[in-house]
């Protein structure tokens, strides 16, 4: 049993479990599933700086901060108790492509050849870790939600603006992964 839990979970187990988060949050407290809003609540709580967009009662959304705090703890528990003993298996074409950029270590969730503290101070590392993060925070709020709020909660409640947002997430991602990221990784 433990072995089954330790191996990577297939999509048909993980997907439905993620989908169930929607009714669980609604039933335990009328909460709409969304994660990127937590970044806004952190701004409203810590650095509102008199900006109208951050002048609201963030304490009414404090559940969201407990939720993301839980995600962080869950990440810790999963790697400490249920770590996958085998290396990650990736598509051979991707492995071949990445090796041309010097990414050969596939042991972690993120390629440690790129994501590490000393790389942070190189141009490539700065673009990937800092600019990348900035785009996530800026883009999700401009779009009004992220993969959870728009793609999962929004599509589950059949909202067409969420379908447009989700398509745009995919288009942006496809453009970056296939045409821009190769240039960044070659830096």
């Amino acid at each position: 049993m433990l072995d089954i839990l330790k191996n990577p979970w297939p999509w048909y187990v993980a997907g439905p479990l993620i989908g169930l988060t929607v009714p669980v949050l609604l039933i335990i407290g009328n909460k709409a599933f969304g994660i990127s809003s937590s970044l806004r609540h952190i701004c409203a709580a810590c650095i509102p700086a008199n900006i109208p967009f951050f002048k609201y009662e963030w304490t009414k959304e404090i559940w969201n901060l407990f939720f993301v705090g839980g995600i962080l703890i869950g990440g810790f528990l999963a790697v400490s108790l249920l770590a996958n003993p085998n290396p990650v298996v990736i598509h051979p074409n991707l492995a071949a492509e990445l090796s041309t950029y010097g990414i050969t270590n596939l042991d972690s969730m993120v390629p440690v050849d790129v994501f590490n503290w000393s790389a942070l101070f190189t141009l490539k590392g700065f673009i990937i870790m800092v600019i990348g993060g900035f785009l996530i925070g800026f883009g999700t709020r401009y779009a009004g939600g992220c993969t959870s709020g728009h793609a999962i909660m929004g599509l589950s409640t059949l909202q067409w603006p969420s379908l447009i947002a989700t398509c745009c997430f995919m288009v942006g991602g496809i453009i970056m992964a296939n045409w821009i990221l190769p240039i960044i990784l070659s830096l």
Binding site: P8, W11, Y12, A32, F76, A177, I184
Partner: protein, 175 residues
């Protein structure tokens, strides 16, 4: 620091309707309840978050490599995860509406519908770029930090800075 305290007083003075309007700006997920609870009631959301974080790691949704495979159409995994999550979510919402299910506190479950604005296109594209570079959306950022990828804390702080900057320039952007 003093400024924050001053803001708080202002916030307390804002009327509820107006405050809700500000809070629901550019947010898919807004939550309004007339009930007040002790702080520890929030711990149940933390438990759901923990379960969620474990699924994130175990299904390798937070893996940079899986995201690269998705955007290169080299693997069905992520499409399967998102697709089946939406199916289960949609069926659940349908059942909640059909049976008029109440929350555990007996409140009626509310759904807020969202208006289209250009931000969903421009912001969506920008987020897509960031998603593919970092291999993470906001949820995975938290799970990755927890999993020991400490440098991702910088990416998370940068995402908070991005959200703040959006708030700062919001009025000047096309919506």
């Amino acid at each position: 620091m003093q400024d924050i305290n001053k803001d708080k007083i202002v916030i307390d003075g804002i009327e509820t309707a107006e405050e809700f309007e500000v809070r629901s700006l550019d947010a898919m997920c807004i939550n309004e309840s007339q009930l007040t609870h002790k702080w520890y009631h929030n711990l149940k959301y933390m438990v759901v978050g923990i379960a969620f974080g474990i699924v994130f790691i175990k299904a390798e949704i937070i893996s940079w490599f899986r995201i690269q495979e998705m955007f290169r159409f080299q693997s069905f995994h992520m499409f399967g995860v998102i697709g089946s999550a939406v199916m289960v979510g949609a069926i659940s919402v349908l059942l909640i509406k059909k049976f008029n299910t109440k929350t555990i506190y007996g409140e009626a479950i509310e759904f807020h519908s969202k208006q289209f604005n250009k931000g969903q296109v421009y912001g969506g594209l920008l987020f897509g770029l960031g998603w593919a570079i970092t291999g993470a959306c906001p949820g995975p950022l938290f799970a990755l930090v927890g999993s020991g990828a400490t440098v991702i804390a910088v990416t998370l702080l940068s995402a908070i800075a991005g959200t703040w900057t959006y708030g700062y320039v919001r009025e000047k952007l096309p919506h």
